[in-house]
Symmetry: D3
Subunit: 288 residues, 6 copies
């Protein structure tokens, strides 16, 4: 008998009970102020992944041997950020409760807040590692508190000083950079200081939520994003940094801001797929 059409990220074919990592997508970009399109990120990654090799020569490991389940995309309410965050938090909570690592595919960066809310409820001592071009530390943006430009500030509201570690930031208002200097572990422009931060976090063995805004990459290799910022990190720098982070105690994660429709050449989606492959393999290796 014929089977219906199933579409998952390539090589993510574990059954849910057997999985250690669970993908879930949040195709949401309602608060994006400049150029929307991040809503198309999760399905683009899933769809274009059929052009990706599952084997990583960087880690000499194969995604097909990792235990990843792809639960597809949430159906979110456009125009209602609070409701969308609630649905994301609910899904993240289920996965966390099942002792698996939720890996959220955005969507705009605001979606991170839903997952962080769930993680912070489970882990009182949660830290966040944040790779991004933007500080995302505004208190409000265009009169909204729930905006992609405020997401890390909202996380700070939850976690407080010294719990957020930011890397590769190269854009923001003066006020955000000042706030960062006072309240976060702040590393502008690149990954300098990551080793030190990680050795400290590992010593404390704290749980880490790891959020990657793909626009930390240079726009030359990742043009398909809402607010491209020249002067970013290279693909290989990102791979190295994310593998380093995955050796610590990552209990939840996300990868966001692929706006696939803004890049007709397809290199952004292809790069995102490869980052995800490396991310999944690194996370799974640590948790095997």
């Amino acid at each position: 008998m014929l089977a219906p059409n199933i579409e998952t990220f390539i090589g993510c074919e574990a059954k849910y009970p057997d999985s250690r990592i669970v993908l879930y997508g949040a195709p949401f970009d309602s608060t994006t102020s400049f150029r929307p399109g991040a809503r198309f990120g999760p399905s683009a990654m899933r769809h274009e992944s059929f052009g990706l090799e599952t084997y990583s020569p960087y880690q000499d490991a194969d995604l097909t041997q990792c235990a990843v389940f792809d639960s597809g995309d949430l159906e979110l309410s456009f125009g209602s950020p609070e409701r969308a965050l609630y649905d994301i938090e609910t899904r993240a909570a289920v996965i966390l409760q099942d002792e698996k690592i939720p890996l959220l595919l955005g969507g705009e960066h605001l979606v991170t807040l839903g997952a962080v809310r769930a993680a912070a409820k489970k882990y009182a001592d949660l830290h966040i590692i944040h790779f991004d071009a933007h500080a995302d530390l505004r208190d409000q943006y265009l009169d909204a508190k729930l905006s992609h430009a405020c997401v890390i500030r909202r996380c700070w509201d939850l976690l407080g000083d010294g719990r957020i570690h930011q890397f590769a930031i190269r854009s923001g208002e003066r006020e955000e950079f000042q706030f960062a200097k006072e309240h976060t572990d702040f590393h502008p422009f690149d990954f300098e200081g990551l080793g030190h931060t990680l050795s400290m976090l590992k010593k404390q063995n704290v749980p880490i939520y790891f959020t990657i805004d793909l626009d930390c990459l240079d726009p030359s290799i990742f043009p398909g994003t809402g607010t491209p910022e020249a002067g970013g990190v290279s693909f290989l720098q990102l791979l190295e940094a994310l593998r380093a982070v995955c050796t610590a105690n990552v209990i939840g994660a996300d990868l966001n801001e692929l706006a696939s429709t803004l890049d007709h050449s397809g290199i952004s989606t292809a790069a995102a797929c490869k980052v995800l492959r490396e991310f999944l393999i690194a996370l799974d290796t640590k948790n095997k």
Copy 2:
């Protein structure tokens, strides 16, 4: 002394006190569920209008001799439809109070609700003429009451039965078509019956809010819109119909759903500019 850069829709250079029609833009598309981009419509029309002739051979009249003021775009809060509608309503109310015709450039179709709220407060006997591919009569969409897919239903909440006249509708849920049959003056597929509707409205001399969703046009001539629906009306049919409506008592209007970034050829923006020229000339001629 040098002057700063002013950018208005071509030929719309009246001073505000002298104007009869006032343009205002609402670059908002947060509730767009399928393909966003309507936020770019107003600035695209303004910017590309420099390729448009101000003279209309269809009406043998020139836009430069109409009394139109372009007040630019509102700065709206993405992700907060209620706040955006409030700002739109406020601007529309100011213009109506000054006894001018507000002509709103969307943005997604939800923006109409802000303007209709202002118009309905001033005119208790308001009617709406609605050109669109979609019925927009859902009671809610993805759990939201304030959605582009519900905008005419929200207008009906305000105005009730027999006050909304819909033309060229060719897409919707079965429930919307049923609702339309019972509650609106409904004309699917094209403009058949428009003459009859207009002669009735003119006899009563009621005030009319006229909303045009540009996706009533066939996608062949207007591909740059979020949800293109094959089988639409032609450009010349639309011009003829809008000129007919403008002979009635139109007290407010809008033109929306140009998502300029979805059409790299530029024909959608060019068509929208020409529709706006014809619209402004027809409205102004009636009100001279």
Copy 3:
């Protein structure tokens, strides 16, 4: 427990045993000589169908109430037309044997041959109704017998004179037009004569394989195809004609030549989705 991501054409959610129509995709375009991309057609239709209403105002019926199963895409060997045709024929034969109507989504037009081979084995008296811009009657093309440009000629090899009914053809070599005059029921440019052909076929109650090359549509509404030919039929003409054919005894069908990547505006995919909705509803209505 979370479910994996299933992606079918919208509203096609019958279980296989309950279905009357079965979709299957053939993402193949290896013999396309001019501009490839038809391989992306089936997945584009499936993916973009989430922007389509399931209700048809043209037929006042809803796709969700039809009995359609979507079996996804075949995994075909690029560069080996004979093997690809074999796999298509095999799938079609399974569906025909289960007394269901196979509806193939191409892919380039050559894929039709696989399905016709299966149908001709089951139905000795098979007729073909063919909507297309191109005659596809070359005996060979660039030294190949199995080419998109030869597919109807290959069908004629199987069925012989008087069994193929061609409509809307407006491009080909002089030899193809001459061949058509001698060997097929040939109607260039549009659907003139379709009523007559159908009444004859209904009288005989013969089984019909119905193949639609979407490039019969005018390129203005369907630019996303390998070889666009100006001067085509309109969307509404195509809908009317296909509804007419579906009142006859259609036992298998296909819809092909959407090369979605050639049209960034997305109107081609949207039009193809709507044609498919109307096609499925018309076929299902007849077979209920």
Copy 4:
């Protein structure tokens, strides 16, 4: 021994001495004020013509049996319209002197002036038939007399009243429409009156220069042009009109304003190629 790469418009393989029609390209668009790109027209038509059938089912004739020579593109000086026109005139004069029909591929419409100058020197009683969306009758544009927007006015400077016959015009300044009414045989919007004009010109057997600005076509079928104007003629209307003109005494011609780079779908170039095929066949048939 291997031969170098020759690229001509498909089917135009006559030797120069045997040819009746000679193609020459003018890849020039320096005075285009809105969106450049017409410079790419001639090479795009030549290159994409390999996807075109040489057989015309409309005229039941084949381009390979016409006597057409393709002399390639002129190398013109960007930024110097007068020099470019001189080079075009020189080429046209050579072809006219050899008793062949020069068929110029633009480029922006200004290029016509070079060819008309050559034709008017040879034929004192020259008439012009002009298909276009734009009147092109400005006396000057942005301080320039040699502009695409002035080209027909410059032709009128040469030929005077009653010698220019304009069809399908739907855009221009009020002054241009007034000038047209007084000085040209003016037919706005479509081809109404063409039959009458032609029968008059045939009676007098005057030599005709026939210039087609492809933007007379509706932008839905021809989006790839600098200034698309909604409300144009259809492809089949254009074919019918140009075949009619070709029954008169056409001694020179051009086809211009394809800006292929503005239309990624390729339908504009494909349509232009087909118009050129039909044009060449019609011209050649008359002159055999």
Copy 5:
């Protein structure tokens, strides 16, 4: 009372009398021989700047605290380079006379000549610092002396040997490279030697006109330009070099060759906006 729509580069809101730097645009590309589109550069930068932060983390300074006035675009005559240069020179002269720094936004590189003519009239000892992929030293190009490919040669005609300092050049004819070796201070491929050149110029305290052709950037980060040349400098290298130059006595400047329409991803316009922000802050800091 409502205000009309004003559009300036973000953060450039000084009044003219208070300003130290004045932006003016020259949307001209008539002599571009390969791929036009630089005409769209100035308005694209202005329009897309609303996605740019005004704060520079590189210089820890904010554009809103600089004294910049944006005087909009000149309306130039396409097809007449001499007239366009005259209009540019006139505008530059006004700004120089008011003791402000004119910063010209091109357009093709030829526009520089207009500004240099004005600067050379005021400053007899003018030097030029030139960042570019191309030498632009041809004596003529396609029979034209006023061409983008000749602009630095025309400047040399004005200034003579030893006054022009060229960096990052990686493309040109053999003759241009030879000319450069004999007549300019020539640094191919990158910014090597810039420190030495600057210390010499500072010692002499000569006035400097600083012209940046953005195609000195690698095409990976700046694809949207007429003639992309692989092998360029990185974004951070350019920022560092331009900040260095701005510590010398820059009395006029330009930024040109953004052809925004050639890059649909938008990263070129975004990069250009950021270069302009850094440029304005560096110039203003020096001149405070």
Copy 6:
């Protein structure tokens, strides 16, 4: 008398008998499994080369002084890899027999096999130097032995162990990497080890076939290819490496996998043109 239109790669205007290098194109991509378009590579390079300088500042040499003949593209049978390879082999054999270096422009990488077959027949001791992102060492792919993904494996079938030298490989199945370790001289990720390999090959003075898959370049500078792989080599690294290889005994070569239609910005085609210029100059210099 007018000449027909000849289109060759710029500066390649030697007569065949005088030439040392002969270009020939193989516009074939039938086995491309992911994104087709490499078929357009050769004509795109030829066509866009008119924007390329013939002078190389890297090698201080001019392409116009090299002895290169461009024999245009083969007309290959789509859908029949075996026949296409036969035609390629035949052309390569002719050129080799005339003691010239055949330089093949692909097309997908499979085309290399045709040329290698010809070279291996002439040179029993042939070695291959292979630059690529992909190992191309699968034994079969989607049931096909003749696939772009298997091409180097097929070359290994011909030549055996130790004859293939692979560089810059960063993608493949685990099995391919294992095969490489056992059977080829394998250098993943970059050009490390190239100097050693070359000095060994030069010592033996063996004939070398040099195949460059342009996707070895980073997608940031070369997005227009079927399967872009982030993490590639830079343009300048590639130039340096290819100049090094050309100092050895290269007797045949190819450059493939430019899928120009996937990159609307044009930087991929421009980069490919420049690589070809440098390649031809380096090959010719060695062979003068």
